[in-house]
Symmetry: C2
Subunit: 376 residues, 2 copies
């Protein structure tokens, strides 16, 4: 396991690198599709591989509840369970506990909550989060953190910072497997001094990579970017940086610009199932009546199966009929779009054209497309 | 377009042949996957082609309502709309009108009903059914028929027989396109004299193929097989015969044995989405707890992608989590299973081992599998 930084843009923080993991060489910046329940919704692993993805995400919280991490361990681990030969990153369950679980009680020891499946009392601690992730067997695992709500006050954010540092120490102590990378997570909400403090405390633990948590959780965008910039300023150059939960095309470009290497988000896959697709010209809502008889592809510059074979009229029909194939084809396209976007970003960083490419993209996407005449 | 009968079993009515259509040579007996709304649910056309299917079905009733047959015509027809290069058969809408539509009024002229989408008053007549099917552009189209309910009385069944003959004449009169085969449909419920009368009246119209409708619609199996046998006895040897709505593995074998060449049914795809899968050893309900930690494939003798890559434990997990990938993988397997079943049946007919093969299959499937110990 090794992270090699190949190039940093001269007039921004944008970086290009390679993350060498046992099962994959991941070119960064990279977007990681989210496979919550050991499946990237609507996709086979063959299709993900075909799109060029080599690193996907799975959720500790959901998999520990069902089918259970020990079941997956006994079946040979998560890679084998879902037939994915490349790399996996598992989150720690922290974010889900704080966003989904009911009847939650948080102490320095950990979190007790009620299972959304059967109402059972469940405890998640740093030690248990590591145990689950060792059972699942991902290549990169995450520290158990406290994620404070978007735009919360300084006192609440400070408590989350302190606990997240405390819990990282316990995660490192609990960790047994040598073949997994444990990333620490920086918290601190939108409070820049707290972000700096958290970054320093987490970096002091000398992790092989660092995640930025607690952003894109409801705070205004205008407060998110300064918080992100504060963190990346305090992270070491030679370790990968992972911005959790970010995934619109525009936000990916801005995140790369501020020095992020890895991203994940359910948005590209979830929005696809809701009929929202990315194109070079901006967001398209496939349900709109203007697509009803449109024989053209979603995006004429895209070479994915969806754009090669199917018209907007057919895709709209599938979506309006709630057909599984509609979910498949729109998901495939959104993931193809992000994969190409990240490859282009990397190329631009490596050949010195990053700022120009970045500005072109961000300008393009500020024009909404659905209302334009002559769209084919 | 040509139907070539290659072999008829000496001690049963089982037949093997080839249906030569402009876009495909279809080996019979054949099962046709149902693509109700211009998509075989959960599957791409690439996957169907990969499984060996060359003839699929689509529904006139559903497609005329949404997106509309004229929309599909203007987009280049159904083949292009759904990116399927091989053959398509469309039903006439008759079955759906009689099973799905509300506020229905039937006269000799046709059927008036309320659209389930928007409540609009819609009229379907033999002429309109042909117009829709000519707009859709399938290779084989069906006459508009009246399908009497399963096990209905003789008077009701007789009226359906009379109307179905009357309507076939009007369909033939209305038909304009030369590149589509129009199949007549035999009705008559479970009443053997009516079945004989209907078969004779329909055959008198000299269609290129004949369908058997109004079976597998709720009548007891013990009454279905004699009705089917009566019909096939009165159909010409040199035309393909299509038993509508039949699709369990056992019923397919029995249908072949009575001289049927083509079948369609939503059951293999619908049941897959409900977690019910076909295996060599019988039906498996993937939700059953016995599969929770089972590392083995659904069917160790099956070479489909689902059986090659995934364990029963994973498939159960996907199904329990209502994941789209679960629907995909189980649908893929059920369709792979039926494709192999039909290929084996054809092989057995051609090499003279039909009755032996048939009896082996029917015996196997009478043992329920889920309860057996040692299932892997």
């Amino acid at each position: 396991m090794k992270f090699e930084l190949l190039s940093t843009d001269s007039s921004s923080r944008a970086r290009a690198g390679t993350l060498a993991l046992p099962r994959a060489a991941v070119e960064t910046p990279a977007f990681m599709p989210v496979g919550t329940r050991a499946t990237v919704k609507a996709m086979t692993t063959d299709e993900l591989e075909g799109l060029g993805y080599r690193l996907i995400l799975a959720n500790t919280f959901h998999l520990a509840l069902r089918p259970g991490d020990e079941v997956i361990r006994d079946l040979g681990g998560l890679h084998r369970f879902q037939a994915w030969p490349h790399a996996i990153l598992t989150d720690s369950g922290g974010f889900q506990v704080f966003s989904l679980a009911e009847l939650r009680r948080v102490t320095d020891h950990g979190v007790v909550f009620q299972s959304p499946l059967d109402g059972d009392r469940i405890e998640l601690t740093p030690e248990r989060a590591i145990e689950i992730q060792e059972n699942l067997g991902a290549d990169i695992i995450m520290a158990f953190d406290e994620c404070s709500p978007g735009g919360c006050g300084e006192r609440e954010a400070e408590q989350a910072v302190a606990r997240t540092t405390l819990w990282l120490h316990r995660c490192l102590e609990a960790k047994r497997r040598e073949d997994q990378w444990l990333f620490g997570i920086v918290q601190g909400g939108i409070h820049l001094p707290l972000r700096e403090r958290s970054a320093k405390e987490i970096v002091a633990c000398d992790c092989p990579g660092y995640a930025i948590g607690g952003l894109s959780v409801g705070e205004p965008k205008a407060q998110m970017w300064p918080a992100l910039e504060t963190v990346t300023t305090h992270l070491p150059e030679n370790r990968p940086r992972y911005l959790m939960g970010v995934g619109t095309p525009g936000d990916l470009v801005r995140g790369i610009d501020l020095g992020v290497d890895l991203f994940d988000c359910v948005l590209p896959t979830r929005n696809a199932r809701n009929g929202q697709v990315f194109t070079r010209q901006g967001i398209v809502q496939i349900r709109h009546a203007c697509h009803r008889t449109d024989p053209g592809p979603l995006d004429s510059s895209c070479s994915c199966e969806t754009c090669r074979l199917y018209s907007r009229a057919y895709l709209r029909h599938l979506h309006q009929s709630n057909e599984i194939l509609g979910h498949r084809l729109l998901t495939l396209h959104n993931l193809a779009f992000l994969r190409v976007l990240m490859a282009e970003a990397r190329h631009a960083i490596l050949d010195g054209s990053w700022t120009q490419w970045r500005d072109e993209k961000l300008t393009q996407w500020e024009t909404p497309v659905d209302s334009l005449p002559g769209e084919a």
